[in-house]
């Protein structure tokens, strides 16, 4: 399997502090949450506006815990690593594709993932059948072209996996605490104690007009 490419118009991430005890409940035993402070881990919400892929354009929202990356001598160092514990998409085809190819855990119904921009901000509203799931706003900073390597970990009954993901595009990143997050009571958030998640992101990432490149999936040891 060669590199899998997804073109996007917008990819936004907010990074929010939440208790490590909650993070550990969301992670498989072989992964450790990364703690910016003792007892505090990082919940991230990422929303994609994909414009081209093997399954056409679609929207996607990824709820993750930031984890310790695997850093190996002689290999390119990842910027960071994450474990998506819940992924939602706007189309069945996108869901089937990501489950089959990447073993990512999915919410099995179509979601609405709507982006709106203005005033140096971008907002994504995520809902299912009109029932709100999340609303996140990310503020803009200076944008510059980047190519960053990330590690994405997956785990299911058959084993543990990792994929190297390269994110290319115009990136704005800052820690100005100008964004915000509202998580609504919805079974999408199962396992997450919503009231313990900070509503201000300590870091905000906005990438535009780029591509996400997945290396072939790697199997890690035993399940």
């Amino acid at each position: 399997m060669s590199i899998t490419r997804y073109g996007y118009r917008n990819a936004i991430s907010g990074f929010f502090e939440f208790p490590t005890e909650n993070a550990k409940r969301l992670l498989p035993p072989h992964l450790e949450p990364l703690e910016p402070h003792h007892g505090t881990s990082i919940f991230s919400l990422t929303a994609f506006e994909f414009t081209e892929s093997m399954v056409g354009p679609y929207g996607e929202v990824v709820a993750s815990v930031i984890v310790a990356p695997l850093i190996r001598e002689g290999e390119r160092f990842p910027k960071s690593a994450f474990y998506p514990y819940q992924v939602g998409t706007t189309t069945q085809a996108a869901r089937d594709h990501a489950i089959e190819r990447w073993h990512l855990p999915h919410w099995m119904e179509d979601l609405e993932v709507a982006f709106s921009q203005g005033g140096g901000e971008i907002t994504v509203k995520v809902a299912e059948g009109g029932s709100p799931i999340a609303e996140m706003t990310i503020a803009e900073h200076v944008a510059s072209p980047v190519s960053h390597l990330y590690q994405c970990f997956m785990h299911n009954g058959n084993g543990s996996y990792m994929a190297n993901i390269t994110m290319e595009g115009q990136q704005s990143e800052h820690e100005d605490e100008r964004g915000r997050l509202t998580l609504f009571e919805h079974p999408f958030h199962q396992g997450l104690v919503i009231e313990d998640v900070a509503d201000l992101p300590f870091r905000e990432l906005w990438m535009r007009d780029g591509q996400q490149l997945f290396d072939p999936l790697l199997r890690l040891g035993s399940a």
Partner: protein, 427 residues
């Protein structure tokens, strides 16, 4: 795999990574991380990390002889990096006291403070600190770090709750870790967030703040934080590392500055900042100090402060008490530098103290800026993520009472000149 190899061969800029990128290595061998870190660090050193830990060949006065980390050459630079806020550590009286002490006691304490390592000079220093802080008693620690670690882990336990400002010094965080208490971080200097978090906890509660925050130079919102903490039955610790001997009518610190000396429960400080020495202390009731004597493991499992240091610190403290004009000179210098930076458009953020960050706000460019500033004759270091938030890189200035206005004018000229070249002035 071909694509993966191609990508491995690509080199990301060193500034894409930092110390936080090398916390975890792959595999089961703890040394696996050393190779990847070394590969990055060698590049980082060349690109600017050499500016850290450049050896000084002279006393940390306003002019220092610095060994360049890249060329090894010695050069005299204007010192804007050392704490020494009152310019005391190299005063003749201090050096003389230290010399007398080394003649009398030799080099070190040669023992734990609870066994054979306590000397008469330690008792004198502890009493002098307690008197200065207007407290019943005080206890000395070998470093400020060990004071915070030792104090917090001595009085807090598993199941208790410790509320820390998100910009808390590592020693406060490490004390909380050692105490095994539940640690809750509140947003920096934000009493509303503290209130929200205190309201969700039951049991023993400790709120830890700092008088002056070391990376931003802003002063603790103590009146509001005390009010919130008291409403929720929480005890309050203030670490006055950067504010003792400077703030307040008598120099006791930020708690005195706000008239809240009696409202704050626990007063900690260091000797390494304003006195330019080494060591830490806790002040309070005799009951508290006796308890800490028996339960502060970071203290009694360390050798006591060297009696040479204790003697020098005692002499330094005498200067602080006898020369309040030093504090006045420091604040005059701070006001002068703030005004001049404002006139030149140099951004110092929220600083209202002698700690002044010159905000560069560019993690990739900050080392280049720092190099040019050193070439211009100033000694100061860049501070980058993770010590400060991403893209909040800065150069941290420590203003001293020993600086002259000519020194500070020289600093303004060099810094504003370099920032102007880089298009980094505010206006």
């Amino acid at each position: 795999m071909e694509a993966a190899r191609k990508k491995d061969a690509e080199r990301a800029p060193f500034s894409d990574y930092d110390y936080s990128s090398f916390y975890h290595g792959a595999g089961d061998d703890p040394v696996n991380i050393l190779g990847p870190f070394a590969a990055w660090y060698q590049e980082a050193l060349q690109a600017g990390y050499y500016l850290y830990s450049e050896p000084l060949h002279s006393a940390p006065s306003t002019r220092v002889l610095v060994e360049n980390g890249k060329t090894g050459q010695l050069r005299e630079l204007l010192n804007l990096a050392s704490y020494n806020y009152l310019g005391i550590s190299y005063r003749e009286e201090v050096k003389a006291a230290a010399v007398e002490a080394v003649k009398k006691y030799g080099l070190g304490a040669s023992g734990s403070p609870i066994l054979s390592g306590t000397f008469d000079i330690h008792r004198k220093l502890a009493q002098a600190v307690a008197d200065f802080k207007d407290k019943e008693a005080s206890i000395l620690f070998p470093t400020g770090y060990s004071a915070n670690v030792g104090f917090i882990s001595a009085i807090m336990r598993a199941g208790d709750n410790i509320f820390l400002d998100q910009y808390s010094h590592a020693s406060i965080v490490d004390g909380a870790i050692l105490a095994k208490s539940k640690t809750v971080f509140f947003r920096h200097n934000n009493p509303l967030d503290l209130e929200r978090k205190l309201g969700r906890c039951t049991g023993k509660k400790l709120v830890a703040v700092e008088g002056v925050y070391s990376m931003d130079g802003d002063v603790c919102a103590l009146p509001e934080i005390v009010e919130v903490a008291k409403r929720h039955g929480a005890r309050i610790l203030i670490d006055e590392a950067h504010s003792t001997f400077l703030f307040g009518p008598n120099g006791r610190g930020v708690a005195e500055h706000f008239g809240l000396d009696q409202e704050v429960d626990f007063h900690l400080g260091t000797f390494s900042k304003s006195l330019g020495g080494q060591g830490g202390f806790v002040c309070g009731s005799r009951e508290l100090i006796d308890y800490l004597n028996g339960f502060s493991r970071s203290r009694f499992f360390s050798c006591n402060l060297s009696p040479i240091l204790a003697a020098g610190l005692l002499a330094g403290l005498k200067i602080v008490e006898e020369e309040p004009q030093l504090r006045a000179k420091l604040w005059s210098n701070v006001a002068f530098l703030r005004r001049r930076f404002a006139e030149e458009g140099v951004d110092i953020g929220k600083s209202t103290s002698q700690v002044m960050p010159v905000l560069v706000n560019d993690d990739a460019k900050v080392f280049g800026v720092a190099e040019k500033i050193q070439e211009g004759g100033l000694y100061l270091q860049p501070v980058t993520y993770p010590a400060v938030p991403k893209h909040k890189s800065r150069l941290r200035i420590s203003v001293s009472a020993a600086h002259t206005e000519e020194d500070l004018e020289q600093a303004v000229g060099v810094i504003a000149g370099v920032l102007r070249e880089q298009g980094m002035l505010c206006r």
